[in-house]
Symmetry: C2
Subunit: 155 residues, 2 copies
DNA sequence: TTAATTAAGGACAACGATGTCCGAGTGTTT
DNA sequence: AAACACTCGGACATCGTTGTCCTTAATTAA
């Protein structure tokens, strides 16, 4: 029903929604969203192809939001990265015969519950608690010395 | 979340629960539950290994219920054929940082909804409507004539 | 222009879910 | 007992998802 990719996409999108206007590299998003970096890159590609984010290459590049997070639901995002298993139509139920009505009713009700939760949740709502992660240093420059490593994290 | 195998297992188990005491071949269950025959065989194996059903080989063999359908929940059955994705514990939520609380709360709520539906449904309840399928001829013996098909089920 | 940085895109590997097949075991018949 | 028919049980193949890697393209700084 809900795949791993779905959750990765939601986390990354929320992390991005917490930085409105900013262009964030995929590597940084992967760190904040706790997603394998190469795989998140793949997911971000899909989100860029479906115009949820826009990617910019080169120095200072990265991904930035291309939509209003208050108007995009979690369901739309999940559908963008992969087809979601929708509950059966009543027509399909008839095909199987009437014997499994009780079973299919319950299964479909469970599936509908998941869809509703996703439908009712906007990206902005899901990302509302984020911002706490901004307290930490985003990414540490690993270039050795030169101007002196100022990476004492415990501030 | 809920895999195809889960649904197959539930349908087959319901079909079996509608024939208490009987030993039904996997092929017949596959027909009634509308599941690919060779694949259902594999699922029935798992259900036999987990002692939900007991298999008997040879002529007149098949599968029979090994549990009380009123005391087995759909959740137990689903877990028997494959691990189900359970909601995160609050401890795991802390590991990821506090930023994604709202997101994970909703996702877990959706997952919990599915679990609850499965938990609240016993096999007996799900199979209550079955029996209608017994009106139809179960499987037609395709062996031509000889001693004549004496297996007219409609008594 | 050259070098550095970053996304875009495709090829490849690993894994589980799904689907198919053949051998082992059981009962019937001779 | 031996041969045979029937059915389960485990091994094999296929497919999509998940995850990694490498090459290419675009953008910026020097």
């Amino acid at each position: 029903m809900l795949t791993q990719t779905s959750e990765y996409a939601l986390r990354a999108m929320c992390a991005l929604a917490a930085r409105p206007g900013e262009t964030v590299p995929a590597a940084e998003l992967a760190t904040q969203a706790d997603v394998p970096q190469p795989y998140l890159a793949k997911i971000m590609q899909q989100l860029a192809a479906t115009h949820f984010v826009s990617g910019r290459r080169g120095i200072g590049g990265g991904y930035s939001l291309a939509v209003d997070p208050r108007k995009v639901t979690a369901l739309e995002l999940v559908m963008a990265v992969g087809p979601i298993r929708k509950p059966r139509t009543s027509t399909e139920l008839d095909e199987l015969g009437d014997g499994f009505k009780a079973l299919h009713e319950r299964l479909d009700r469970a599936a509908s519950g998941v869809l509703e939760v996703l439908q009712e949740s906007t990206i902005a709502e899901l990302a509302q608690d984020i911002g706490a992660i901004r307290r930490e240093e985003p990414v540490l420059s690993v270039t050795p010395g030169k101007n002196g490593a100022s990476r004492s994290a415990a501030g």
